[in-house]
Amino acid sequence: MISLAGRDILHGWGKFVLTGVGLGLLIGVTLSMAGVYRGMVDDAQALLDNSRADLWVVQKDTLGPYAEPSSLTEDSERPIQAMRGVAQAAGVTYLTMQIAHGDKDVRVMVVGAEMGEPGLPGQPTHLISGRQIVRGHYEAVADVKTGFAIGDRAKVRRNFYTIVGLTSRMVSSGGDPMLFLSLKDAQTAQFQKDSDAIVRQRARTAANPQLNPPGNPAVAQAVNAVQSGNTNVNAILVTITPDANPDEVAATIRRWQRLTVYTRAEMEEILVQKLIANSARQIAMFLVILSIVSAAIVAFIIYTMTIGKIREIAVLKLIGTRNRTISWMILQQALGLGLIGFIVGKIAASLWAPFFPKYVLLLPSDSILGFVAVMLICTMASFLAIQAAIKVDPAEAIGG
């Protein structure tokens, strides 16, 4: 038996393919939305991977440093370093800000990492060119997505930093590329007041007899030094020894340091379940709406195509074609439309993914799931047309 659906498609292939392309663009948008979500999750995981930490020690009762602000003294690092099971501990600061790059602004996450010894958690990984920060001040390593090149100078607050190295896939959970500075520089950038504020602060100190006792100017100088400097960090990243259990080490730090500690699994849950949860729900809503729109479009197209063939269907039924054969023809056309749509959508999504400002991750498993969903949607969408075809009375071919 010949394929009636195939012949019908070949007969009007231009219209069919154009319809498929239109549907494909919609499917491409749907796949891209899924890719945006996957990209967000991947960014979050990349953030955790790139920090190379097993534990995140943050201000007590906060979800810091990524989901909530967290501030703790740099000094907390030393007792943690001394605890059993801890291999390395390093303070780190995170600050998302706009920095100028030529005549454009770039949104970056400025990361302050301890550069004293190589391999400390928080330091930039995946260097693709240049070198690590080796000087105490005014050097930076940037992610390639910032657009900076080696030798460029980036202005952060009042200071300029020379880009000495470039990394890739070093992004915040929001997808902003990272700019690494030494911890001291980053603390300055994060906590330093502007000149007017410092002048006013010094005037207030000088006017306060308790902070500026007559005959003892060293007190005021000491107060000013304390007020203008800052040794806080947003988190202490900890790596553990190979034989240590992260939960046990985390419990010890919580007990003795009265700080909040997250393991990798807990931090991943915070990022995925809390930080990007709303975005994920937003994307899920888009996916549902796009799926419904796709189903409605397929149903409408297949129904219109079927209604346009009512006379032929009546003739086919009159000359003895089974309902099953006609239903299969309609279903095949719907599936064919879905197949073209999926192929076009997959190609389109792959082509335009690099142009998205945020990372779009198109997973093969999502594509397979998307293909199954498209086929299911097309199958369901063809029911209406099949029902209309089954209702066609063969007597309509005779007329009268």
């Binding site: 010949i2 007969h11 003895g320 054969t325």
Partner: protein, 233 residues
Amino acid sequence: MAEGITLENVVKTYGSGETAVHALRGVDMAVAKGEVVGLIGPSGSGKSTLLKCLGAVIEPTSGKMTIGDQCIYDNGWKVRDLRALRRDMIGFIFQAPYLIPFLDVTDNVALLPMLAGKPNAEARRLARDLLDALDVGHRAAAMPSQLSGGEQQRVAIARALINRPPVILADEPTAPLDGQRALAVVGLLNDMARQFDTAIIIVTHDEKIIPTFKRLYNIRDGRTVEEVQGKAA
């Protein structure tokens, strides 16, 4: 002469009670194999209803219908698979050819034997032989939209004949044709009826072709009156 189709006291009533419409009030009809008869009647006389009953599209309310030697309806009893009956025992020719626009000429004709389970190659060979017999073999690979009206009607006739049905029902097959072409189509149907030993019933209003029938059934108010004419095709 063997009977192609026989109707005995066929009644068709739509609805019931006071609103009942008696479309057929006891139709008797017999058409032998190889014979072509005309079925005429004014609008609303029951022609279409009779055609639908003959075509096993609707069931009569009562009466008996036989195709060849097979009873297909007998006062409430009917053949179980009317679809297969239509496919294997009844050929249809419509006012317009109603060819399937997305199948080429060969496959339009070969579709029926394919539906009946014949292999594609054999069905296409049968179709091409028949198209040759109807002088449209040279258009076998064309699409219906590429054919003239006359060629389309010949392909429709080939489609009706392909399964060698005992009966062919033609619903005003000459309506869109001019006088000469209409007479040619009737002549062709007469040839085919003889060649394939098929009973052909032609429903028509066409004054040009009515005189060509040896026998006519004139239907009025749901009853048929048989008329025998002197002139034949």
